[in-house]
């Protein structure tokens, strides 16, 4: 694609293909290519290599990093509510994050607020045990808001540093489930003032343009503070995040690169962009 000595129509088309096949989406890809095409027309960009660098820089500017770490701040416990649609990697991501903090001596409490899906509580309990974090759970089928409340009460009582609340996967189109999530958020605030301090949306990098509706709806419902993009160890590029950052200005904190406890990395915009073009 960039092996040609001159920028022509073919170069721009090939460029559009790279962006579209990375799931960057029609609107965002067209916008990016048009910006570049304009500079080409004004003869500001004539070398394909420079064009490539310019485009990478432009995309990296849109992406929003957040130093890739959770800053627990002075008031403890710091409460993170983890949400997202079904199967994206919420439970696994909580295990990974908990591990990072227990490893440095922080006390982590996890709330098993997915009381709906079969063996969701058992799955989380195994992770809690693996990483040395206490898991607060009720019976299967109980009220997730009640679990959340108890988790925060327990966290306060034990002087926890970090609380991670695992919730059931929910499609953003299901109004009753979006309402349930709102209630979980409200109840958290009742147990600890200001909680949740962070609402973390987990997105699957294999997801196409629907990720944008997911992000928008979750954000409109309970305000999303950060994003984790999982499964980047696959062949999907996760390009949907470009449009999401551009429109919603939500920082991407971590990326998931596997199923094991250590497979979590801080989001790095430059590395992400390099991978988009590889």
């Amino acid at each position: 694609l960039f092996g040609k000595p001159v920028v022509d129509e073919e170069t721009l088309e090939a460029l559009e293909e790279v962006l579209l096949t990375a799931d960057i989406g029609v609107a965002t890809s067209m916008k990016l290519v048009e910006e570049v095409a304009e500079r080409v027309r004004r003869k500001e960009l004539t070398d394909p290599e420079v064009l490539r660098v310019h485009l990478k820089t432009r995309i990296a500017e849109i992406l929003i990093e957040d130093e890739g770490h959770l800053d627990l701040g002075p008031k403890r416990p710091y409460v993170v509510l983890v949400v997202g649609v079904n199967g994206v990697g919420k439970t696994t991501t909580i295990g990974k994050i908990a591990a990072q903090f227990t490893a440095r001596g922080d006390k982590v409490v996890i709330g098993a607020a997915d009381t709906f899906r079969a063996a969701a509580i058992e799955q989380l309990a195994i992770w809690g045990e693996r990483v040395g974090a206490q898991v607060i759970k009720h019976e299967h089928g109980s009220d997730p808001a009640a679990v959340t409340f108890d988790t925060l009460e327990a966290a306060k009582a034990r002087g926890a540093d970090l609380v991670l609340i695992d919730t059931a996967g929910r499609l953003h189109t299901k109004t009753n489930l979006m309402e349930e999530m709102k209630k979980i958020r409200r109840v958290a605030g009742k147990a600890i003032e200001g909680a949740p301090h962070e609402v973390m949306l987990v997105l699957d990098s294999t997801t196409g343009q629907n990720a944008i509706s997911q992000a928008k709806t979750f954000n409109e419902t309970i305000t999303v503070d950060s994003i984790v993009l999982t499964k980047l160890d696959g062949t999907a590029k996760g390009g949907v995040i470009v449009g999401i950052c551009d429109e919603l200005k939500i920082p991407v904190k971590f990326i998931g690169i596997g199923e094991q406890v250590d497979d979590l990395r801080p989001f790095n915009a430059a590395e992400f962009v390099e991978a988009l073009f590889s």
Binding site: E17, L20, T21, A22, D23, G25, V26, V85, N86, G87, V88, G89, F116, R117, A118, A119, E122, Q123, A125, I126, W127, L171, H172, T173, D204, T206, T207, G208, Q209, N210, A211, S213, K231, D233, G234, T235, A236, K237, V240, E259
Partner: protein, 293 residues
Amino acid sequence: SLSDKLADVFKSLTGKGKLNEKDIEAALKQVRMALLEADVNFRVVKQFVADVRVRAMGQEVARSLTPDQTVVKIVREELVRVMGETCEELDLRAAPPVPILLVGLQGSGKTTTAGKLALYLKKKLRRSPYLVPADVYRPAAVEQLKKIATDLDIPVFDTDVNDDPVEVCKKAGEAARIGGYDTIIIDTAGRLHIDEELMGELGRIKEALDPNEILLVADAMTGQDAVNVAGEFDRALGLTGVVLSKMDGDARGGAALSVRAVTGKPIKFVGMGEKSDALEVFAPDRVASRILG
């Protein structure tokens, strides 16, 4: 929707008897964008648009339709044609217990679909299915399928997580034979199509069981990557069909077209919810409408 966009393209043209080249190109531009927005793979879109162009050239505008309606009609017919005009049944012609193997990426809905298929076989096809939890890696995966099975009152193999999955499948096959069940549904661990070791493991499970059906469970919201995943699973194992899960969301479902176009394998079912009764037989015209927006 595409219909609206095409109506716009053609609103300045009235009383035309035939679609001319310029009209068609303008319309195809809209079709291409609509399909890409619906997550149909880039290359698949290219081929699809080329096929539509061939059909649209010289096409008479039926007196009952406007030019934009003619193009929409062609696009819809092409979508339905590619995705399979007929609904393909499960192939259960074999000596019992007939094995059905579920494979796919992490989190796509395999375990949930296993329960749904078991219920479908029991209630709709009046068969006696046996569930096999062959995912010994994911925490509480065996418990998850066991709980689903118990809720449905469907027998399930008591997997030992210390066994490797091939061992589990062999033992379960034997248990199903002894128990007199006529169908076994094997739930496997999610895996990447690029993980040689785990893909090799599936190959060994296939060899051990000789399944009648190897179904790829794919998430309806999958984007451009759908062709890579489906293509590789098909190449490695020879899929017999696809189940598109989470179609109860608002993903346009372009992955349906991509997967069919790249593997030629039929989509047999769609998952329409988290409960075990949320499984429907694939209807191409319905998915076509959805992709068209």
